[in-house]
Symmetry: C2
Subunit: 118 residues, 2 copies
Amino acid sequence: MATKEEYTIKSRIWIRTKNGAFLGFGRVALLKKIDEYGSISKAAADMKMSYKKAWELVNSMNSQHSSPLVIRKIGGKGGGGSVLSAAGKNAIKVFEDLAQKNDDFLNDRMKEIQFDDE
Amino acid sequence: MATKEEYTIKSRIWIRTKNGAFLGFGRVALLKKIDEYGSISKAAADMKMSYKKAWELVNSMNSQHSSPLVIRKIGGKGGGGSVLSAAGKNAIKVFEDLAQKNDDFLNDRMKEIQFDDE
């Protein structure tokens, strides 16, 4: 007799607009790092991402929302820095909540599934 | 006033065991091609995948199920070929049903989400 395997499920989600990707795990991770460091360059370095790439992602997110998710602060003795807007913080929350709900949904469905029913 | 973007959601799912990946979109696509062609090598060619890679994926799936999903037929004038077992056909059905249910779930959730509520 064969033993039954224990199957688990993983998922990834992406939110898009007609202009392409808006939010995914990588973009949300970048937003969280910007929130942590107050700096796109430090966030990029921490994620081993080029500054150029991080800026492209930030610009992509900002341009696909009615107001920017990331706001660049100009000047000051530290030379500025970047912070998340309320919309940026909301985007993280909404995305992570959706990902969690999706995991819960899929884990529930997996309990009903029989691969080994033949 | 900014206009609201129309957000859509995409997802990918993977089913795993403790030994690693069992089923994902690529593996299920391979199973469907094997079912169509009755041949792993023709399925691999159609997917622009090496025969070696296709065999590795088939072996991985077969070894993580109580009975093989793909059965190799030995001999015969055509030199054999491969067919899906009932378990293989069931795996396609279960996976695609799960992916569809997941899409439906996520699309419903997206209707409730407000990114632009600030």
